[in-house]
């Protein structure tokens, strides 16, 4: 797969940020419930950022706002140079098609389409000719090591295979941003590890990834940044250094030298 990352065409900011949230708020029931409260966040191209928080912290809402699936009550959202605030449903749908790739906890594959047909859907929505879409889909399935199940139906695949199909689907339109929402939540730990390794590999080739999770291990285990949400607000934004190759004794001490 080519390593280029799809970039935005308009730069409304002085920075080259991919995602720019400015003071975004999302309330329900006439401001009685605030799912997001004054969230400002910048994500650069090529980052692998984890958004972490317990349930009710607003991380799902944040994800939905970035994807254009939810409209903020206040503030501004710009992704890949596109102003999402105030855009119409149709415009948001079109934006999602080409700029965002989704990977969900429960895969959300279409059960009456085969694997390859599932992967082709976003391409066809974007107007790609079926033949070209098919070729692209095949390549992705091959890259993800699931070329053999091209004609199977999702129900007949294992969880890990389904998630790979979902990843292929997410990548077919070479999106600027991949949004992963608890991608390992429905998988056993070994398969989950494999999926996360896939995402790591993608990020190494330049794909910007936004991971949403409640699991601190998942959040710290990949990428370089952990944004913590609590009650709709960002309470922490920590940089993580990967592969620090620390000495074991720096990390763990058994006993305290006692006899």
């Amino acid at each position: 797969m080519a390593g280029s990352v799809h970039g935005g065409t308009e730069n409304t900011m002085t920075t080259n940020a991919l995602v720019q949230l400015t003071n975004v708020g999302r309330t329900y029931n006439n401001a009685a419930v605030a799912a997001l409260d004054g969230v400002s966040l910048t994500v650069e191209h090529g980052e692998f950022t984890a958004i972490m928080g317990p349930s009710g912290s607003g991380k799902s809402t944040l994800l939905n706002v970035v994807a254009g699936l939810d409209r903020p009550s206040s503030g501004r959202v710009v992704v890949d140079g596109i102003e999402l605030t105030g855009a119409s449903e149709t415009a948001l749908a079109r934006y999602r098609r080409t700029r965002i790739g989704f990977v969900f906890q429960f895969f959300n594959l279409l059960s009456n389409l085969t694997v390859i047909e599932n992967v082709m859907v976003p391409a066809q929505l974007a107007g790609t000719r079926p033949a070209a879409a098919r070729t692209q889909a095949r390549q992705l399935l091959h890259d993800l090591d699931i070329a053999s199940v091209e004609r199977s139906y999702p129900q007949n695949l294992s969880g890990g295979e389904r998630q790979r199909v979902a990843i292929a689907r997410a990548l077919i339109n070479k999106p600027a941003l991949v949004l992963a929402d608890e991608p390992t939540g429905a998988l056993d730990s070994r398969t989950g590890t494999q999926v996360m390794e896939l995402l790591d590999a993608l990020n190494q080739r330049g794909q910007t990834i936004l991971l949403v999770t409640h699991d601190v291990n998942l959040a710290t285990g990949h990428g370089r940044r952990v944004v913590s949400l609590r009650d709709g607000a960002i309470v922490d934004d920590a940089r993580i250094q990967p592969r620090r190759k620390a000495e074991p004794a720096e990390l763990v001490r058994l006993g305290a030298g006692e006899l």
Partner: protein, 779 residues
């Protein structure tokens, strides 16, 4: 019981869409069913009531006063089987004139409207008592241009003199229709006829009404007739007696005609409702599968689950029927009222408890039965599986159609929608058939109306090629009459005719034999099948006559005209509308072969283009008082009839289209609700709301196409059946071969799409507004 009711109530409150569909479709079906049954049963009611109160005559004999005496007739009162008869009444057919209009009226002497048999009811005015007074039957402008009103003075015109008579009363005439078509009758006091006829050569006749013990069927009447005829001298009858069954059929012909159509449509409507309800219930069961499992786990028995499901359907069905039945009864009053007004009888109550309650119960039972099969499935739900799986297992079908379309490059919304159309085959099939029924009626509507119109627009095809009819009376000779007619500049062509009764061996009633002189083919007369006669001995038979006598093209038939045997060969069959589909048309020479002294008395005239018919008739009538000139009204009468039929068919088609749309609405609603997860996924992948709606709509369009393939053939079949039935009843055959042309098919398919999209519109919009976030985070 209480637990069941609670469940039913709760379900109804939540599932508003379902019970709205069931209530509205049962309302429509109940209304149409009530309408048709009420008409069928009550159609003849007003006439029957009037006949009974008038002690109407089962047979009215028309006799020649020169061949039989009043005493001989009076003696027949005591014949076996005769319950009442008489009195003997002198009668004669005289030409009357009112202003420019003229026409024949049968004048009968009668002292008073009462009596033992054949009483008459006065609609207005009084019975004639003095000189020059007459009471006329209520006329129908659709049947004659001569319609005397109360207070009019009209002229009785004979070869010797003219008598002016004043209309002092209007009578309701049950015998307005007889086997010779419509006849206008009038009554004068005893002795008045001699004055009117004077020295003219109009033949005097006698009218004698009879009532019999057994007179319910044609066969019994034929037997009764033979009994009387055997007691009379031969040749005493001028024409076949009028039977009360003919009178009755003639009176109610319009309602009978539409009644048949309404009946067929109501049967279809009931079938469609059954299909829609079955689909609704099936969907309900699938959607509520988990809840039924829980209900069973809580302790509801399978029987109780069935009760809950059918209860949910029964409540809206009752609501729909309770409103629909009175609506149908109300609608029937329009039709019943039409005939009642003529008879000045109160409109019979459209409320027939047997019918109304019957339809109510029947529709509810049908709905319950339709709900039963899916309900049994709910009862069989495995509690554990239902709770854990959450929904009834849905096989994922390889949507070859969807893949095919996507491969072709169709928009993903269309491809996905089309592929999903048959995801649940049973539900899809039910919807296809329900929509197919709607399309069948649409096909019928688009083909029947135009076919009928085509026929009406071609009067030559049904014996109405002439623009005017001229009747010769008195001692004006044929030659004189012909020259008078041809001399007028407005005359383009003339066919001279003479009509005589011809009795067909083995048949009770005589058929009219019409001998025609002139170039009939050039005039425009055409048969519906076979060819027009071209030599003596050949005949073109009316369709009704041919059917009753089992005559086909090429057959020979023996008839007796005026005592002479005549052998005819059937070379053609025609829609003989002026003769109510009956009779034989022959060449003039055929008649000359047996009755050489007969001369034509009715002249069919075609006018030159641009000639004013009214001026023409006035002009010609002025040339001789012995010419009765009348515009041919067959054409003008036909158009409103066609319009009326089209309105009825249009209304019924709309009803069925609504039921079909309800079926599509239900199917689309269920499908989009079941696919809500996929819809949310597609939205997250970037499908716009418009595309989601298009997906739902595409699904219904596929159903529409399949339904059209089912419905159009059914519609064509329906067209065949109904036109054949109308043909049988009225001897009127239409050529429907050209009715299903590509344009009609396109129109029907467009209509099918319109209905399907109308039904799918709202659920499609609701689907487009699916809230994505929460749906995607759950499994």
């Amino acid at each position: 019981m209480g637990a069941i009711l609670t469940q039913v109530r709760a379900a109804l409150l939540r599932r508003r869409a379902q019970w709205t569909i069931v209530a509205s479709t049962t309302l429509l079906a109940a209304a149409v069913a009530t309408l048709s049954l009420t008409l069928v049963v009550r159609d003849n009611q007003p006439w029957d009531d009037a006949f009974a109160s008038a002690n109407g005559p089962h047979l009215v004999f028309h006799l020649d006063a020169s061949r039989v005496t009043a005493d001989q007739l009076a003696a027949t009162t005591s014949l076996p089987g005769v319950t009442a008869a008489g009195p003997v009444r002198p009668a004669a057919t005289v030409t009357f004139q009112k202003g420019k209009a003229n026409g024949p009226i049968q004048v009968i002497e009668r002292g008073n409207p009462g009596g033992n048999v054949d009483r008459l009811a006065l609609l207005a005015g009084r019975w004639p008592q003095g000189d020059d007074e007459m009471a006329v039957a209520k006329g129908d402008p659709g049947l004659s241009t001569l319609v005397p009103q109360l207070g009019d003075s009209i002229q009785a015109v004979t070869s010797s003199h003219t008598t002016t008579l004043k209309v002092v009363g209007v009578v309701s005439d049950l015998a307005a229709f007889n086997n010779q078509g419509a006849t206008m009758r009038a009554w004068v006091r005893d002795g008045e006829l001699a004055k009117i006829l004077g020295g003219s050569d109009i033949r005097l006749g006698y009218e004698m009404p009879y009532r019999f013990q057994h007179a319910a069927t044609d066969a019994e009447l034929a037997a009764d007739r033979r009994v009387v005829e055997n007691a009379l001298p031969s040749g005493a009858e001028v024409q076949a007696p009028t039977s009360w069954l003919e009178m009755r059929a003639g009176f109610n012909w319009l309602v009978t005609a539409v009644g048949g159509i309404i009946f067929a449509f109501s049967a279809f409507a009931l079938i469609a409702v059954v299909l829609v309800v079955a689909s609704v219930v099936a969907g309900m069961v699938i959607a509520g599968y988990r809840e039924f499992g829980i209900a069973k786990a809580l302790g509801f028995t399978p029987a109780e689950v069935v009760a809950i499901v059918t209860g949910q359907m029964a409540v809206p069905a009752i609501a729909g029927s309770v409103v629909g039945v009175p609506l149908g009864a109300l609608a029937s009053t329009y039709f019943l009222g039409a005939t009642s007004a003529d008879l000045k009888l109160p409109v019979p109550s459209p409320v027939d408890p047997l019918i109304d309650v019957g339809v109510l119960i029947g529709v509810i039972v049908l709905v319950a039965l339709a709900a039963l099969v899916p309900a049994l499935q709910a009862a069989r739900a495995d509690a554990i599986r239902a709770i854990t799986l959450g929904s009834s297992p849905r096989a994922s079908r390889r949507s070859w159609l969807g893949s095919f379309l996507l491969r072709l490059g169709a928009a993903p919304a269309v491809g996905l929608g089309a592929g999903d159309a048959f995801a649940r085959p049973i539900r899809a099939s039910l919807t296809v058939v329900a929509l197919g029924i709607g399309i069948a009626t649409l096909t019928f509507a688009f083909t029947f109306g135009p076919s009928l119109q085509r026929v009406i627009d071609d009067p030559a095809s049904y014996g109405a090629a002439q623009d005017a009819n001229v009747v010769r009376y008195g001692n004006l000779s044929d030659t004189e009459a012909t020259s008078l007619i041809t001399a007028d500049s407005g005359t383009k062509a003339v066919i001279a005719t003479r009509q005589l009764p011809a009795s067909v061996t083995g048949k009770a009633n005589a058929e009219p034999l019409t001998a025609m002189r002139g170039d009939t083919a050039a005039f425009g007369y055409r048969p519906a099948s076979g060819r027009w006669f071209s030599a003596p001995g050949e005949t073109v038979a009316g369709l009704l006559t041919a059917r009753e006598a089992h005559l086909r093209l090429g057959d020979s038939v023996a008839v007796n005209v005026g005592g002479h045997e005549l052998r005819l060969r059937v070379v053609g069959l025609m829609n003989d509308q002026p003769n109510a589909g009956r009779g034989f048309r022959v060449d003039w020479q055929t008649l000359m072969g047996i009755l050489p002294t007969e001369t034509p008395d009715v002249y069919l005239v075609q006018l030159r283009a641009g000639t004013d018919v009214a001026a023409y008739t006035a002009r010609l009538a002025a040339k001789s008082s012995q010419l009765g000139v009348q515009e041919d009204i067959n054409k003008t009468y036909a158009q409103p009839f066609v319009a009326f039929i089209n309105v009825i068919i249009g209304g019924l088609t709309l009803v069925l289209a609504l039921i079909a749309a309800a079926g599509v609405f239900n199917a689309t609603l269920l499908a989009t609700r079941e696919r809500v997860h996929d819809i949310a996924t597609l939205k997250s992948l970037g499908m716009t709301p418009a595309q989601i709606a298009a997906m739902a709509a595409a699904s219904s369009c596929v159903v529409a196409v399949v339904a059209a393939m089912v419905g159009i053939p059914i519609g064509v079949w329906l067209l065949g059946v109904i036109t054949a039935t109308m043909g049988d009843l009225y001897g009127f055959m239409f050529d429907i071969s050209g009715s299903l042309n590509p344009i009609t098919i396109l129109l029907v398919i467009a209509g099918a799409f319109a209905v399907a999209l109308a039904g799918a519109a709202m659920p499609a919009r609701w689907a487009a507004a699916t809230p994505v976030a929460q749906v995607l985070r759950s499994e």
